[in-house]
């Protein structure tokens, strides 16, 4: 396993044209994320963090500049090539989970495998999906539909889906935005556990507290990176959960 940069952005710009207006959403971002990092990308709305997230997620291409993902330049790939990159190297976790309705947790987790290059039998798909579901604490819930799961459980299914293809990078877009504070901490606990296993995570959030679970915070404003620092007083999700459990039992 190489220890170098998983993500390397070199002077990335993104300009949208809406009619006569040119919107400079990202104006020169250079960023490196090494393997095993847990980065929180922060910024107010309009700061360009969503645009940068779309570029990092290979859903969009930079107008100028370079994006090197896992030692390969992906900044000039076409739609289908980007889809292949997303499938093999990236895992997505969304604010609103984006699970297929009326579809079991297992089938939701299998989804990226259906679009992969490997031909797996139904039994192999099932085994792999069940294994990943168990690793996020959903063993025994494989056949539940999203409507039968709590918000936290749904997000864990989404995390399992993101992990199924062993991605180079997990991208989480406001993963706790639709969750209560206790469930949010539970999700952070999973992220921290994954990070312990040297899975690289980039998480967009606007909550300072959630960002404190990461190892490194990147703050954007007006399309450029304003601050980039290592988190000094890092929160440990496991300890936070213990503290929450105590406070609810005390009168």
């Amino acid at each position: 396993m190489n220890n170098g940069a998983v993500v390397k952005l070199v002077d990335v710009h993104k300009t949208y044209r809406t009619g006569e207006m040119e919107v400079h959403a990202v104006r020169g971002v250079s960023l490196e994320i090494r393997r095993g990092e847990f980065v929180a990308l922060m910024g107010a709305s309009g700061s360009g963090k969503s645009t940068l997230m779309n570029i990092l997620g290979c859903l969009d291409r930079p107008t100028t500049g370079q994006y090197i993902l896992d030692a390969a330049d992906v900044s000039r790939l076409d739609r289908d090539q980007l889809a292949g990159i997303r499938n093999r190297k990236l895992g997505f976790v969304f604010q609103s989970f984006n699970l297929l309705p009326r579809t079991s947790a297992r089938e939701n987790v299998e989804l990226p495998l259906l679009y992969g290059a490997h031909r797996l039998t139904n039994a192999q798909l099932r085994e792999k999906a069940d294994q990943v579901l168990a690793s996020v604490g959903l063993g025994g819930r494989e056949d539940h539909h999203p409507s039968q799961l709590s918000g936290g459980e749904q997000q864990r299914v989404a995390i399992a889906r993101a992990l199924i293809n062993d991605p180079e990078l997990v991208l989480a877009d406001e993963p706790t935005g639709n969750l209560d504070s206790r469930t949010s901490v539970e999700i952070m606990e999973i992220f921290q556990q994954l990070n312990e296993r040297r899975i690289t995570i980039l998480m967009v959030t606007h909550e300072q507290e959630i960002a404190s679970y990461a190892r490194r915070n990147v703050l954007m404003r007006d399309g450029i990176v304003r601050q980039d620092f290592a988190v000094t007083q890092r929160l440990e999700a496991a300890m936070e959960l213990e503290r929450l459990a105590r406070s609810t039992t005390e009168p």
Binding site: N54, G57, L59, D60, R79, D80, A83, G84, R86, N87, R88, F92, F94, N98, L99, L100, P101, R102, T103, E107, L111, P112, L114, Y115, G116, R119, R161
Partner: protein, 405 residues
């Protein structure tokens, strides 16, 4: 990729919306069933007409007195009394390929026996008539050439006439009064059923044409002459010879219209089947419209489905689906709906045709061609009406699709 998994994905999506899938397929089911049943009814009618035309006899040429245009005055077939008994004799004598000739006169009149009476059609014919029409007797014997020469008072009756006059009694040897003239019934014809025009062919009395002319109808001219030719190959030659012979006998100069009309059985059959073909086409076309409406139903539901599942499409693209994976998925959904609908429609259509055949006594004939055509059309409808929504889905921008509320 990955057609197998795409099938899986499409079927899962259809199963998620069972009610909607069933209702959408229903449009195609009704369309295909309608096409199959309607074409089945049309073909059945056509087959029945063909059978009836064939019951006129094999290789038959009909010569009617009068012409559709005669000296500028248009009369109907049999309208003007231009055919003489001698004309028939000349045809019998001089046209080599003719095997049988029957002089025909007709009349509608009251017949009676005992205290029963009945209004029926009287056919005066020669003894060859039963051969020409391929109409055997069920019981008794036909009249003979001797009966014809002597204008004897004998007759053969159809099943309907027999039942109306004699009920369950055996009519053979009994007396039938035709216009107060007593005739002896020598035989009863086999049942022939309704003609192409819906006339009961068994409501008939057949007697020697000499007797009919002398004792019943009066008059000295024939309504028509039925001629049978030995072989179908000689039909047109025989027809031409008959026309020349009659023109010569009737002193018709070159360039003037015939005062008679010659038709062969094939022409009559062609005219009748052309009519039923038009009917079949019309029924099929109306049913086809419902198939197209079913297709539009599929397009409509697929468009709704694409809009409704925009986020799902975005999610699929985010995890690596190519545009063509999405296109294939939605196309397969549309084609599955239409072809499953097509298969069910075929079964329903056949059942409907059989039910109509049994309950309404309409003959129906299901053709393999209409089944194959209906199924292929329904699959094509799936592709045609499914393509636009599927392409719309495939071209979605993943970022916007993910954000769609």
């Amino acid at each position: 990729m990955r057609v197998g998994p795409t099938f899986n994905v499409a079927f899962r999506a259809l199963r998620r919306n069972k009610m909607r899938s069933v209702l959408t397929a229903l449009g195609i089911i009704i369309g295909v069933a309608a096409v199959i049943a309607m074409v089945g009814i049309g073909n059945g009618a056509k087959a029945q007409v063909e059978a009836q035309i064939a019951s006129l006899g094999q290789n038959v040429i009909l010569i009617f007195s009068g012409s559709t245009t005669s000296s500028g005055i248009r009369t109907g077939w049999g309208g003007a009394g231009t055919l003489k008994i001698e004309d028939a004799a000349a045809i019998r004598r001089e046209v080599p390929d003719v095997t049988a000739v029957s002089e025909e006169v007709t009349s509608n009149t009251q017949v009676a026996a005992g205290n029963q009476n009945w209004f029926t059609r009287i056919y005066g014919e020669s003894a060859d008539y039963f051969d020409i029409r391929q109409w055997p007797l069920a019981d008794g014997a036909p009249f003979t050439p001797q009966d014809v020469r002597s204008a004897n008072k004998v007759c053969v009756i159809g099943r309907t006439t027999a039942t109306e006059i004699y009920g369950n009694d055996n009519p053979i040897g009994q007396v039938l009064r035709v216009k107060h003239v007593p005739f002896t019934v020598s035989g009863v014809l086999t049942t022939k059923g309704l003609s192409a025009h819906g006339v009961d062919q068994d409501d008939i009395v057949v007697m020697p044409y000499t007797s009919a002319m002398k004792r019943v109808a009066g008059g000295t001219t024939l309504r028509n002459i039925n001629v049978q030719v030995a072989d179908a190959k000689q039909m047109s030659a025989a027809q031409q010879q008959i026309i020349e012979l009659l023109r010569q006998r009737h002193n018709i100069q070159a360039g003037r219209d015939d005062d008679f009309t010659v038709r062969n059985q094939q022409e009559i059959a062609d005219a009748a089947t052309a009519t039923t073909d038009v009917m079949t086409g019309l029924l099929g076309a109306i049913a086809g419209v419902s198939l197209v409406v079913g297709g539009i139903g599929i397009m409509n539901i697929m468009l709704v489905s694409v809009t409704e599942r925009t986020r799902e499409i975005g999610t699929r693209m985010a995890v690596g689906a190519h545009g063509r994976d999405i296109l294939t998925q939605f196309l397969i959904e549309a084609i599955s709906l239409s072809s499953v609908g097509g298969i069910i429609g075929i079964v329903v259509g056949i059942a409907a045709a059989k039910t109509i055949a049994v309950t309404r006594h309409w003959p129906t004939r299901i053709s393999l061609t209409s089944i194959i055509a209906a199924f292929s059309v329904s699959a094509l409808i799936g592709i045609f009406f499914g393509f636009y929504p599927a392409r719309k889905a495939a071209r979605l921008d993943p970022i916007e699709a993910l954000r769609y509320e």
